[in-house]
Amino acid sequence: MGRIQLKQVKKAFGDVVVIPPLDLEIVDGEFVVFVGPSGCGKSTLLRLIAGLEDTTSGVIEIDGEDATALPPAKRRLAMVFQSYALYPHMTVRKNIAFPLRMAKMDQAEQDRRIEAAAKALNLTDYLHRRPGQLSGGQRQRVAIGRAIVREPAAFLFDEPLSNLDAALRVGMRMEISELHKKLKTTMVYVTHDQVEAMTMADKIVVLQAGVIEQVGSPLDLYHTPRNKFVAGFIGSPRMNLVEGTEAAKHNATTIGVRPEHIDISTTEGLWQGTVGVAEHLGSDTFLHVHGVPGCDPVTVRIAGDVALNHGDTVHLTPRADQIHKFDAQGLRIS
């Protein structure tokens, strides 16, 4: 079981309130991702759940039990850190065994669990090595191994892939997702990378300045962002936010249209502009178009390769059913 509830949880460092009182429920077995720009309080929130930071006020419940005052060790949670935080003086086996040793588990059971974890994570051949002799990806797997042997109520991940190179990151992303499918244990994952959030999460929690901007499934957030911040943060490349007369035509202060929801033509269209930077990726082409009033540049995503380059004049037409409207406060007008 791993149901986590935050009730009016607040965190302040002195006079600085980093997390104003917030409520959040994490259902058992869910993969929840906290996402937001750096400094938004997502790591602090995770550390509050872990017990590595004290709450200023409010209640944290784990499986219906008040855990607010419990030390980290007593919360039955396992954490994977950005820096891996392996014990450098211990072998891989001893690293993975450490939580079991602390729990005074008998040796046979310890060995059984270590072997199983090592096998699942492809670490069997490395059990006698020290962390210093492993690659970044292997170290991360040891950190995950150390977490899974405990069979915790929930896993907490604090930006676990930030120190890996791009190719490895994609691989580890899938490994963690598969691990979740297999274990069906609650996972709370912190990242600043919205691609990680979109691809891994059952539920995304978008945070800004310690405030929850929106909670929902990845596609909920993509299709119906609650406000301008979520609209701009979720989706890659970012949503184009157009202000002024174009927005007024739709009775809104701001309208948003995603790069993939704009039709492009060289002859006719609603907005006319000039191509600035053209990024040809082969599978897609991203055009950054200047000259559209109220938004500069407008980013357009076209499937496949198109022969448009710097300086070309283009006409853009946003698809009417894919336009998001926001009021003066930045909130969605439905």
Binding site: A50, A73, M79, F81, A85, F98, P99, M102
Partner: protein
């Protein structure tokens, strides 16, 4: 061409480094050589370097005249005791400063270090009087405490620097893994800080061994360590250079040997954290 310049440079660097090294080592070498000369050769003009009648006479005279083992024992007790006591007090202090710092931690560290800027003789009188009043003049335990206090700022600073190199996340990981404070210190922090703790112990032992001001001023017979042993052969009258040299050699030999065998550890400790 470039390679020739580089190797010339290297040769020059080697010569300069060796010259400086020998220059620094020369007084010690001279002391050791002199200890094997006769008193007459010791003051010969021009001085003789290697070609003289080597003799062990000075050593036998010195050993006969004074109880070397008693001085040595006192040195070991005073240097060892003050080092162990200092580390016992400094480890928790450095720990709290490194891992749970307050807004004043930096000030406290600087204030502690500032006590090292005071000339020792400035507090000789009060400490001397305190020792008389407490009846601990010429007492080994008193010297252990005094030398510990004198070196404590350095021990705390060194340990603090080493502990700061240990990433807090590793300690947090241990906490998440169910370690109590005791487990965390015993199984995670201490093993990781061992190079730092060892080099702190060594350096402090050497400092305490060589400390002369307080040991000479606060001891006479019972607690006198090797510094006092050397001083007893430095006399304004008579010609005792060879015997003085023999005494000096005997006093510095243990620490030289210790230093030689632990230099790897010492260097590793002093550069701990500089390279991953």
């Amino acid at each position: 061409m470039a390679r020739a310049v580089t190797s010339q440079r290297k040769a020059l660097n080697t010569v300069v480094a060796w010259s400086i090294g020998l220059l620094i080592f020369f007084p010690i070498l001279w002391t050791i050589l002199t200890s094997f000369k006769s008193e007459a050769e010791a003051i010969a003009n021009p001085p003789v370097f290697m070609f003289f009648d080597w003799t062990l006479e000075n050593y036998s005279v010195v050993l006969e005249r004074s109880n070397y083992m008693r001085f040595l024992t006192n040195s070991v007790i005073i240097a060892g005791g003050s080092t162990l006591l200092g580390v016992l007090i400094a480890v928790p202090a450095a720990w709290s400063m490194a891992f749970v710092p307050s807004r004043r931690t930096k000030d406290i560290l600087l204030w502690m270090l500032s006590t090292k800027m005071l000339p020792a003789v400035g507090v000789l009188y009060p400490i001397y009087l305190l020792c008389i009043r407490l009846g601990v003049l010429d007492n080994r335990a008193a010297l252990v405490v005094i030398l510990m206090l004198i070196n404590l700022p350095i021990i705390v600073w060194m340990l603090y620097t080493y502990f700061r190199e240990i990433p807090g996340e590793i300690l947090e990981a241990a906490r998440m893994d169910g370690a109590t404070l005791k487990d965390e210190i015993l199984y995670v922090l201490t093993p990781m800080a061992i190079p730092g703790i060892a080099s702190t112990l060594l350096l402090n032992f050497i400092l305490a061994w060589n400390e002369a001001f307080w040991t000479l001023n606060l001891t006479s017979v019972d607690a006198a360590p090797l510094t006092a042993f050397i001083a007893s052969y430095s006399s304004p009258e008579g010609l005792f250079f060879a015997k003085l040299s023999a005494a000096s050699t005997m006093a510095i030999a243990p620490i030289l040997i210790l230093g030689w065998f632990s230099q790897k550890q010492l260097v590793r400790g002093l550069t701990f954290g500089a390279v991953k």
